[in-house]
């Protein structure tokens, strides 16, 4: 069954050793700078000097490129085409496609938008690849995020595959009694509706049991929680968080000042 329920890849790298919050700030900083910097080539440069090198420093380059090719590039590529064809800016028509004009300006605009999206999605991918979700959550809980909130995020990630398996069981059970799940799309949608009841109500019943089980282990205890793993937080982490925050502020300020 599912041994691996998150994107996290366990490696020994400088990036893995960073405090989870530092990595969250790094991700947010990359995104905010990509979107706010007034200089046209910022997102492109970020990919070259930040995203790709980070993949190698974090020793997750193979996984990262796999995700990039399968998921990020198609999405960014689609965005590029949409923007290039439908952005009604500029006079310099490079070529015509029926009634759609592709101008130099719309091409430039599309290039930057898709790069921005590329930076955004790949920064998140990078965060997920190098940060263990439970470490991230225990670090954030330690900094004051409510424990219940952290639990909802982590358990959802874990329980979704179980829900899928359960849905599959219900479907098989109904198919064995003659439910049609293989003909036309509309027919299939219709025949799926009776499956939703058992799945939803069954899950709700489970919620109470799970609540009792975690309550029996002191989940809502008023005591200050401790953590099995020691989560590193060094001077370097703090320095990096401050530097990144300042860069973001500069980028946003420049944007406001120049516009």
């Amino acid at each position: 069954m599912h041994e691996r329920l998150s994107f996290y890849v366990k490696r020994n790298s400088v990036i893995h050793d960073l405090n989870p919050l530092t990595k969250v700030i790094l991700t947010l900083a990359l995104i905010l700078i990509a979107f706010s910097s007034p200089w046209y080539w910022t997102p492109h440069l970020q990919v070259l000097i930040a995203i790709i090198p980070l993949g190698f420093v974090g020793k997750v380059a193979p996984e990262f490129f796999k995700t990039a090719i399968r998921l990020i590039l198609p999405a960014a590529g689609f965005l590029f085409l949409m923007q290039a064809f439908f952005q009604p800016i500029g006079q310099d028509v490079i070529f015509k496609f029926y009634f759609l004009d592709v101008t130099q300006e719309s091409l430039m605009f599309a290039f930057r938008s898709s790069m921005r999206v590329f930076v955004m999605v790949s920064a998140f991918t990078f965060l997920l690849l190098t940060t263990h979700p439970s470490e991230l959550m225990s670090d954030l809980t330690r900094r004051g995020l409510p424990g219940q909130f952290a639990y909802v995020i982590i358990s959802t990630l874990q329980i979704l595959p179980q829900m899928q398996a359960k849905a599959q069981t219900i479907i098989s059970a109904q198919r064995s009694r003659g439910l049609d799940t293989e003909s036309s799309f509309l027919k299939r949608m219709g025949s799926l509706s009776p499956l939703i009841g058992p799945l939803v109500f069954g899950s709700l019943a489970e919620v109470e049991e799970r609540a009792i089980a975690i309550e029996a282990r002191g989940f809502t205890s008023k005591k200050t929680k401790t953590s099995l793993h020691e989560i590193p937080d060094t001077h370097f982490d703090r320095l990096m968080r401050w530097t990144l925050s300042i860069l973001v502020i500069i980028s946003i300020a420049l944007n406001l000042w120049l516009s």
Binding site: S155, E206, I212
Partner: protein, 279 residues
């Protein structure tokens, strides 16, 4: 002073009309191993929740009478304090996995983290508990990748690691195959032998006859009978009230009616039956 003392407990779940527990009086001594039996709807699970503090602290509802466990009085203490003294495990092993942790080791540490046990103590305590239930080899697996019997042992370990004074088990083996059942019973027996007070709802009569100190038969929210396992499990009262009965007991009862069973007492286990039929 008894370790567990229920005085005249009557309890009704919220939004319901009938009481699930009716005037229950029950005293259990420290170190005792008590089995609870009864047909569906007898109030067995509710009794477990009452002992573990979930009735009334989690379920609310109307309660009268007093519950005392390990020196705590229900109306004067919180669920937080209660769970530190009483461990609760129940039927479905899957729903007892927290979902917040990625390995068995972390899963077992969850309760200790919640209760603020210092990091230096967590690791040795988890390791010790895993040794006790013989799951050390599962430490790095995902709790969701395990079999039912393994998951139930992880759930039990997650409770035992908190070192409760009382262990409450609500049909922990009912969804398990014979191998899983044997694994779980093995752990429970070891706990009882080490002197932990155990209250266990169970349907496997032969097992109860071998290991429990006392049996309580519950029906319609009331205690119908209580006493030594063999007295209770072979009594005619159980047979007349729709309780599950060991096949050896019912065979011997029929044999006695027809004059083949010579002994005074009826058997519960296979060994007792063989011995009796040899005569």
């Amino acid at each position: 002073m008894a370790f567990i003392n229920l005085q005249n407990i009557t309890y009704k779940y919220p939004l319901t009309k009938t009481s699930v527990l009716k005037s229950i009086n029950l005293q259990i001594n420290e170190g005792e191993f008590v089995a609870v039996i009864g047909p569906n709807g007898a109030g067995k699970s509710t009794l477990c929740y009452a002992l573990a503090g979930f009735v009334p602290h989690f379920f609310k509802g109307e309660i009268s009478g007093s519950i005392e466990v390990a020196g705590m009085e229900s109306s004067k203490s919180t669920l937080d304090e209660w769970v530190l003294n009483v461990g609760l495990a129940f039927q479905n092993p899957f729903n007892q996995i927290s979902g917040a942790k990625y390995t068995v080791f972390e899963e077992i540490a969850f309760g200790l983290e919640n209760n603020g046990v210092p990091r230096a103590e967590i690791r040795p305590r988890v390791e010790e508990a895993m040794k006790l239930t013989d799951i050390t080899n599962l430490a790095d697996r995902s709790p969701y990748s395990l079999s039912g019997g393994q998951q139930q042992r992880v759930a039990l370990t997650s409770i035992l690691v908190m070192q409760p004074k009382l262990l409450v088990l609500d049909e922990p083996t009912s969804q398990m195959d014979p191998i899983g059942t044997r694994e779980v019973f093995g752990v429970v027996r070891r706990m009882a032998e080490e002197g932990m007070t155990v209250v266990m709802v169970e349907h496997k009569m032969e097992w109860i006859a071998n290991f429990a100190d006392r049996v309580i038969a519950l029906k319609d929210g009331q205690i119908l009978m209580e006493g030594k396992p063999n007295e209770v499990l072979t009594s005619d009262i159980l047979a007349e009230n729709g309780f599950g009965i060991s096949r050896y007991t019912s065979t011997a009862r029929e044999a006695k009616r027809q004059g083949f069973w010579k002994k005074e007492n009826l058997p519960v286990t296979l060994d007792e039956a063989v011995e009796g039929f040899k005569l």
